[in-house]
């Protein structure tokens, strides 16, 4: 699962982009990362725990002549490999007074 946060200017140019991935890493008994179910004996848990709320914060600074940006936060869920679906998406346009 990936939290994808971007900021774009009015022309669509990406001014800010950050991703946070929630996943688990399977490791064998030597602590080497593995994919096979028969190889994985333990996990490193970077997922969202049940009944918990995770907070992520991003502070963005834009150039001094930026008068408008569009912020978008998307939550992607990848069920297998590369196939991802957007579970939630939030967009907001921000306008700034420039000097």
């Amino acid at each position: 699962m990936v939290l994808d946060v971007t900021a774009k200017d009015t022309k669509g140019k990406v001014l800010f982009a950050e991703k946070k991935t929630y996943f688990e890493i399977g490791v064998d008994t030597d602590r080497d990362m593995r994919y096979g179910a028969w190889q994985i004996k333990e996990i490193i848990d970077l997922t969202l725990p049940p009944l918990q709320t995770q907070k992520e914060q991003y502070l963005m600074h834009f150039d001094t002549d930026t008068d408008e940006v569009e912020i978008e936060a998307k939550l992607w869920y990848y069920i297998s490999g590369g196939k991802g679906d957007v579970v939630y998406s939030v967009k907001k346009k921000m306008e700034f007074e420039t000097d």
């Binding site: 699962m1 939290l3 946060v5 900021a7 929630y22 996943f23 688990e24 399977g26 096979g36 179910a37 028969w38 190889q39 994985i40 004996k41 996990i43 848990d45 997922t47 969202l48 725990p49 049940p50 009944l51 918990q52 709320t53 995770q54 907070k55 992520e56 914060q57 991003y58 502070l59 963005m60 600074h61 834009f62 150039d63 001094t64 002549d65 930026t66 008068d67 940006v69 912020i71 936060a73 939550l75 869920y77 990848y78 069920i79 679906d85 579970v87 939630y88 939030v90 907001k92 921000m94 700034f96 007074e97 420039t98 000097d99």
Partner: protein
């Protein structure tokens, strides 16, 4: 007189057998079609059409053909290369005891053939041989009798014993015209699902970790006061369809997403790299709260 008495005893014996279902332990099958007859699911839908319809669209219905890559890798990489161990029924059951429990009733010869079909279906995908292998494997799945008989007593075997052949286990044990039933309260508990949806321990002790849902359910969710069962969420309104991570609506239901976006202007001269060092710097703070409302870690597996 002696013949009459013998016939009478035989008749009583037959009656007894029919009353306890078909208590005799089935023989092992040498073909997939024979295997399917040992635990025949085909007539269940005649009375349980809604459950069958839900199940037919579920991942349980395609539990083998949806996992060909992983199972092929276990055979060709795990067994063949890493463990240098021949493919046997015991080894194959490390996958199929959960993905197709009926394979417990396969002969050694058939189990090896099924292993070969898995390799062919994956490696020759799109060819006649590959498609034929996949078609055969599509007959194997987590079907009605997988849960309602074969695995019904696994989590409480000391108390319940081996499942009685030919009997249908269910959470309420209601008898029907079609079959004898035995109440199995375990089927309504998370423990029942966890026998496969968690770390699987093979009879030889090997740990197989396809997914780890049960770990976070048991040690995190329950620990934090959660009390819902797997069935409470994954069978509510959807019955035997068991929606989960493959179903976007279910994923959405299990997650909360609250994003707060606010702007401000940062002090001039404090942000490097801007065009005008004397100007206020347009800035935004994005705070995202992602809530996991489910009873297990997200994502898993």
């Amino acid at each position: 007189m002696k013949i009459k008495a013998t016939l009478a005893l035989f008749a009583i014996g037959l009656l007894g057998l029919s009353q306890v279902g078909m208590a005799a332990k089935p023989k092992e099958a040498d073909t997939i079609d024979e295997l399917l007859k040992i635990h025949d699911n085909s007539s269940c839908k005649e009375c349980h059409s809604e459950a069958h319809e839900q199940w037919s669209k579920s991942w349980h219905a395609k539990a083998v053909i949806s996992s060909l890559k992983g199972m092929r890798n276990f055979i060709k990489v795990g067994l063949e290369k890493e463990w240098n161990t021949p493919l046997t029924k015991i080894q194959l059951l490390k996958c199929l005891d959960c993905h197709a429990p009926i394979v417990n009733f396969a002969s050694e010869k058939l189990a090896k053939e099924i292993g070969g079909l898995i390799v062919t279906a994956f490696e020759k995908k799109g060819t006649r041989a590959g498609d034929a292998a996949k078609k055969e494997l599509a007959k194997l799945n987590v079907g009605c009798t997988s849960c309602h008989n074969i695995k019904a007593t696994t989590v409480a075997k000391g108390l319940r014993g081996e499942p009685e052949y030919g009997v249908v286990y269910g959470p309420n044990g209601n008898d029907s015209d079609g079959h004898e039933s035995i109440e199995s309260v375990e089927m309504g508990r998370s423990l029942f699902c966890m026998q496969c949806h968690g770390i699987y321990t093979a009879p030889d002790g090997e740990k197989i970790q396809c997914n780890t849902l049960s770990g976070s359910y048991q040690d995190a969710y329950i620990n934090l006061g959660g009390s819902q069962t797997c069935q409470d969420c994954h069978m509510k309104d959807t019955g035997h369809f068991f929606p989960g991570g493959h179903d976007l609506a279910t994923v959405k239901k299990g997650l909360g997403f609250n994003v707060q976006i606010t702007d401000y202007r940062h002090l001039p001269g404090k942000v490097p790299g801007v065009k005008n060092k004397k100007a206020w710097v347009p800035s935004v703070l994005v705070t995202a709260f992602i809530e996991n409302k489910t009873g297990h870690r997200v994502p898993d597996g």
